[in-house]
């Protein structure tokens, strides 16, 4: 990889004081963090070919009285390991109040932003250099939350840079000689998944809210048919079945039919195949006496959903279940999700349950805004895990590596792909404009969510943002949204 510039340089943000007291990127407005920097020393000579947005950004920082030191080094970037931070620290205007950890954390953020900006500006070489520097500073397996988070973002940006389409390629399961290693991966995945469930309400929140709404919608039905967009290992349906076999109203233990949508390749994230999920669910259902049948419905190669491919039975209550959140593969192609939800509408379902990640308000932030929002989002997730289990670093590291890291990569890929588009918005808003009717979330459902969160850390909260939508927050950050819908009464089929 030939570099466009002769000399590697080290972008080093230093010599500023910060008033941030947390290691998270709490600031919604990144600009305000630049205000505390010292005097700038800039050598743009080596960057003559690099004038771009990034530079404008730096200059505007300078105008604000912020500054950083751009140290030009004569080393090749591969040996920049030997270039220690101390070179630049000599010239640092250190502030007495600088907190070492906050300092580093903020530095990470700035580097990440710089790298993202460079990428946005198609300035690959600059981005590459920054990422190299980042990789020296952070590692996914140690350091603070902020540092590990930065490491995953760095990896994600790296994948984008290399154009590998989201950073999942190296994780794809293949058959043959890789098989043995895949089992390790699967074991990792299982362990991480179990841990995620134990350490956080992220999995159960969506599943239980959806399930409760489903239960309330089918109290008098004998036959229930659920079409599941991303069934994964099927755990959502275990608790639904339990509730169905023990229900007291209506026809006892209705028949449950589940159709799982399957894709050509589930990628590395799958714990086994759809068929295995089906077998498991069948076995579980049988163990508790739940009448059950399982079907698959293939999506097209581009993951488009065709309603005609579904087998429907008259008299069954049709439920559309769409889980788009952790640990489901959050970043399915939007066209696929859209095809699923719009196709669902033509089927006139009794209920549509939608759980998705909640993004912050981006406004005019564009790519950088969404990038920062994603950083904020995942820093909240990392923090929430740490708050609950501060001593269990390795358990958290496993979850971060196996589940959150790839999520971050997927998130950035999606942000990058849609960088020139308008804010993509929420699927719940989309459903609204599509004409689906909201279904109120009952007191029991809301109460269940609160009780569930109460089992974990106090930092989790439920917010009722609409009568059909509840949101899971960590401290002040909204993370997950669960909303319930039904098709309008007079919809044409």
């Amino acid at each position: 990889m030939a570099m466009a510039i002769d000399n590697a340089f080290e972008v080093d943000f230093c010599s500023y004081s910060t008033s941030t007291t947390t290691t998270t990127t709490a600031d919604e407005d990144p600009a305000c963090t630049w205000n505390h920097w010292g005097s700038p020393v800039v050598d743009w000579g080596s960057l003559s070919s690099e004038r771009d947005e990034f530079q404008d950004l730096i200059e505007s920082m300078m105008d604000d009285g912020t500054g950083f030191e751009l140290t030009r080094l004569g080393h090749d970037h591969e040996t920049s390991n030997s270039v220690s931070v101390s070179v630049s620290t000599d010239t640092m205007v250190a502030d007495e109040e600088t907190n070492g950890e906050d300092f580093k954390g903020l530095r990470m953020v700035h580097l990440l932003m710089a790298a993202a900006e460079a990428l946005m500006g198609a300035n690959k070489s600059l981005a590459r250099v920054i990422l190299v520097r980042l990789k020296e500073l952070v590692s996914p397996s140690d350091g603070t939350n902020m540092e590990r988070l930065a490491a995953y973002f760095t990896e994600a940006l790296q994948s984008l840079l290399e154009g590998s389409g989201g950073g999942h390629s190296k994780h794809l399961i293949t058959n043959g000689p890789q098989h043995h290693r895949d089992k390790h991966r699967e074991a990792d995945m299982l362990a991480a998944f179990q841990l995620l469930q134990d350490m956080s309400p992220y999995v159960k929140f969506g599943h239980f809210t959806a399930n409760q709404a489903i239960l309330e919608a089918v109290t008098h039905d004998r036959r229930i048919h659920i079409v599941d967009y991303d069934i994964m290992e099927g755990i959502q349906w275990a608790s639904l079945m339990q509730a169905l076999v023990s229900r007291k109203e209506g026809p006892l233990t209705p028949h449950l039919r589940i159709t799982a949508l399957s894709r050509g390749s589930n990628g590395w994230r799958s714990i086994g195949t759809i068929q295995e999920t089906g077998r498991r669910l069948t076995a579980f259902a049988s163990s508790i006496g739940q009448p059950f049948s399982f079907h698959q419905c293939r999506l097209d190669s581009d993951e488009t959903f065709r309603p005609s491919a579904l087998k429907l039975v008259r008299g069954e209550a049709l439920i559309i279940n769409c889980m788009l959140n952790l640990p489901h593969f959050s970043h399915r192609p939007p066209s696929s999700v859209a095809s699923f939800l719009s196709g669902a509408k033509t089927l006139n379902p009794r209920l549509v349950t939608l759980v998705e990640e909640e993004a912050g308000p981006i406004g005019d932030g564009g790519f950088m805004g969404r990038f920062m929002d994603s950083l904020h989002h995942y820093s909240a997730v990392f923090d929430s895990l740490e708050a609950g289990f501060p001593m269990q670093c390795r358990a958290r590291a496993l979850v971060e590596r196996v589940i959150l890291g790839p999520q971050i990569a997927g998130s950035l890929t999606q942000i990058y792909r849609n960088r020139n588009e308008e804010e993509s918005g929420r699927w719940s808003e989309w459903l609204d404009t599509m004409g689906f009717n909201p279904v109120s979330i009952s007191f029991a459902n809301y109460c269940q969510a609160k009780l569930l969160l109460g089992l974990f850390n106090d930092g989790y909260r439920v917010e009722e943002l609409a009568n059909n939508r509840v949101v899971l927050d960590w401290k002040s950050r909204r993370l997950l949204s669960a909303s319930i819908w039904t098709s309008p009464p007079d919809s044409d089929l």
Partner: protein, 317 residues
């Protein structure tokens, strides 16, 4: 008009009893005189012409008549309010109780649902371990030495004896996540504090007697009673992982491992780190486990809230 016999009470202080007849005549008189506002005790007395009826009697009766036209009811404003308040208070209490009951229902259902998920996860983990075991058996030729029990905090699988198996049960060892030590570490898990603070919560059920219990030196403010409860329930429900193999099998002692127990060095290294994931608290011993299992006195089939004295008291006024 004829003399009507007035009915006097037999009190020490005889009072006039307004019978229906007398009252009817009173009403007639008042009507004749143009209504309760026009009539006066004097004029009423004259019109009624009842012997023994005094102005005093009429004054008080007329007043009552004017107020409510229901002279037989002897309540006044004050007691109306009392009744209203009482009635309202009862209604409120009923509402509160209804809500409380509903919350308890939700709580109960939540617990069952969490357990169901736990059971399901168990089946996945078992299957995975089965697969792994099969593979590694084939690959390794049955060597037992290289395996390490991840769930065993001592990290030594093959040396578990039968007693251990009985105590731990398959499910405990099955999942390292259920090793209390994950949620142990060196800090005190403030379960008790959390338990007491939240109500109605699942405290009565999950925590059982608010012991430090398995969380002994728990960590941070995270509480995961879910795991513990799941594990015990699973024991109750007699879920025996099917990969408990027969003889000559490193799993015969009932320990299922999760994670790749390959005997190549990289595999072992990984395993070690997996087991180290769960910080070991040296204090946990067999006794602790036994006691825990014992105290929870597991119920078969349908678990119900084991201990919710607070709530039950409220429910049974």
């Amino acid at each position: 008009q004829p003399d009507s016999g007035l009915v006097l009470t037999t009190d020490p202080k005889p009072r006039l009893r307004w019978t229906v007849e007398l009252h009817d005549r009173f009403v007639d008189a008042v009507t004749q005189l143009g209504g309760p506002d026009k009539a006066t005790p004097k004029t009423i007395m004259r019109v009624m012409g009842v012997k023994g009826l005094t102005l005093y009697h009429l004054k008080s009766h007329l007043q009552k008549f004017r107020l409510g036209k229901q002279p037989h009811k002897e309540f006044n404003d004050h007691s109306i309010k009392d009744v209203a308040h009482t009635w309202y208070a009862i209604r409120m209490q009923m509402e509160v109780q209804r809500r409380l009951h509903e919350q308890l229902e939700v709580q109960r259902h939540l617990q069952l649902r969490i357990e169901a998920q736990g059971k399901y996860m168990q089946s996945i983990l078992e299957k995975a371990c089965q697969t792994l075991a099969g593979e590694n058996m084939a690959a390794a030729g049955g060597a037992a030495g290289g395996y390490k029990g991840v769930g065993n905090h001592r990290g030594v699988l093959p040396h578990m004896d039968g007693a251990m198996k009985d105590n731990f049960g398959p499910t405990l060892n099955f999942s390292p996540f259920q090793d209390l030590n994950i949620y142990g570490g060196d800090q005190h898990l403030d379960i008790q504090h959390n338990v007491e603070r939240s109500s109605p919560s699942l405290d009565g059920h999950f925590m059982s007697n608010k012991r430090h219990g398995p969380y002994g030196g728990g960590g941070g403010t995270g509480k995961s009673p879910l795991i513990w409860s799941d594990e015990l329930r699973l024991q109750d429900l007699g879920m025996a992982p099917s990969c408990l193999g027969p003889q000559d099998d490193p799993f015969k002692t009932g320990v299922i491992q999760i994670g790749p127990p390959s005997i190549d060095t990289s595999g072992i290294g990984k395993l070690e780190s997996l087991s180290d994931i769960y910080d070991t608290k040296p204090g946990i011993s067999n006794d602790g486990i036994d006691e825990r299992k014992f105290e929870l006195s597991p119920k078969p089939e349908r678990p119900s809230p084991r201990r919710a004295p607070f709530q039950t008291e409220r429910m049974n006024p």
